[in-house]
């Protein structure tokens, strides 16, 4: 990039700083290049940096005057390896390693998982069987309650019907009324049961499934760590 291009790009990069600020920066760099003997068509040496970098540093300085100016520089000068060395020899094998597992580490974990399969495999099967059992039990409970409710409603209506029949034939007035009342009560109990079952289904089934999910997660989580 020659000086002309450099200055044009720098001006563009500084579009969002004040006119005075931009003017001063451009004058500074023009003067600097004059002193360095860089003509309009001469290449700008890399040591000056790209216009983007120059603009970025200036803007950072305008926005936050106490910025650590050479923070970027350090990355260029100091090989990043050094810092890593210090870290690994210092803080040992804590969080970092768990996050970025190397290829060999990953292989060891997989092999260990396969070798210990008889242990955690049986645990997994037991957990699965328990979950399945709970699931079936829940369905059975719901089914039996539903049957109970259905039977109560049918019996109640039937008994009520018998009572009405007794009234119509006029065979037994008092006992007929009693039978109707009893039948309606049983039918009402059946309806209450039905509502209860619906609530149970709506509220408890998802809760049971969530609970099973949590249980599985917890156990597999522990299995992974061991």
């Amino acid at each position: 990039m020659n000086r002309k291009e450099f200055m044009e790009r720098l001006e563009k990069q500084l579009y969002d700083v004040s006119d005075a600020e931009r003017q001063e920066a451009l004058e500074y760099y023009a003067g600097y290049m004059d002193e360095a003997g860089i003509g309009e068509d001469d290449e700008v040496p890399d040591s000056i940096g790209t216009p983007e970098k120059v603009a970025k540093e200036l803007k950072r300085s305008i926005l936050n005057p106490d910025t650590d100016f050479m923070a970027d520089e350090k990355v260029n000068i100091n090989p990043p390896l050094k810092k890593d060395n210090i870290k690994s020899s210092y803080s040992g094998t804590t969080h970092k390693k768990k996050l970025n597992m190397s290829g060999t580490e990953l292989a060891i974990v997989i092999i260990a998982a396969i070798l210990t399969l008889p242990i955690w495999g049986s645990i997994l099967i037991a957990v699965g069987a328990t979950a399945f059992g709970l699931f079936i039990a829940a369905i059975a409970v719901v089914f039996s309650l539903a049957v109970t409710a259905f039977v109560l409603i049918v019996v109640g209506l039937w008994v009520g019907g018998v009572g009405i029949g007794a009234l119509i034939t006029g065979s037994a007035l008092g006992s007929g009324l009693c039978t109707i009342a009893a039948g309606l009560m049983v039918a009402a109990a059946g309806i209450v049961f039905t509502v209860g079952i619906i609530n149970f289904i709506v509220v408890f089934i998802p809760w049971i499934f969530r609970g099973i999910g949590r249980l599985i997660r917890r156990i597999t989580g522990k299995g992974g760590k061991a």
């Binding site: 004058e27 003067g31 300085s61 100016f69």
Partner: protein
């Protein structure tokens, strides 16, 4: 260079470099002088000069030289006071670090 040079240390270095010249110094020369001891880039030094000027630690004046304008930076009184503060702080800080790191008194 392994150690970072923070904003305050850069201020101190630039003030020291400029104060060495009786009539002040200009951007290119200041950069060259600093670069003799510290691996800084040009893009680092302009913001430092600008900030020191804003803080009234440096003042500027223009000199015509070979048919073009050369902007000189000069340490103000305020800048001098700041430089003296930096000097004593540095003495204290560097001796402590040295004694810790190198075992010197």
């Amino acid at each position: 260079m392994t150690f970072t040079t923070g904003a305050a240390l850069l201020d101190a270095i630039v003030l020291a470099v400029v104060s060495k010249e009786k009539d002040g110094s200009y951007g290119y020369k200041i950069t060259q002088d600093v670069k003799m001891v510290l691996d800084v880039s040009e893009s680092t030094l302009y913001p430092v000069l600008r900030r020191l000027q804003k803080d009234e630690c440096l003042s500027t004046y223009d000199v015509q030289c070979d048919g073009r304008n050369r902007r000189y930076y000069k340490v103000t009184e305020r800048g001098n006071a700041q430089l003296n503060l930096y000097k004593s702080e540095w003495k204290d800080y560097s001796s402590k670090i040295s004694s810790l790191l190198l075992g010197k008194e």
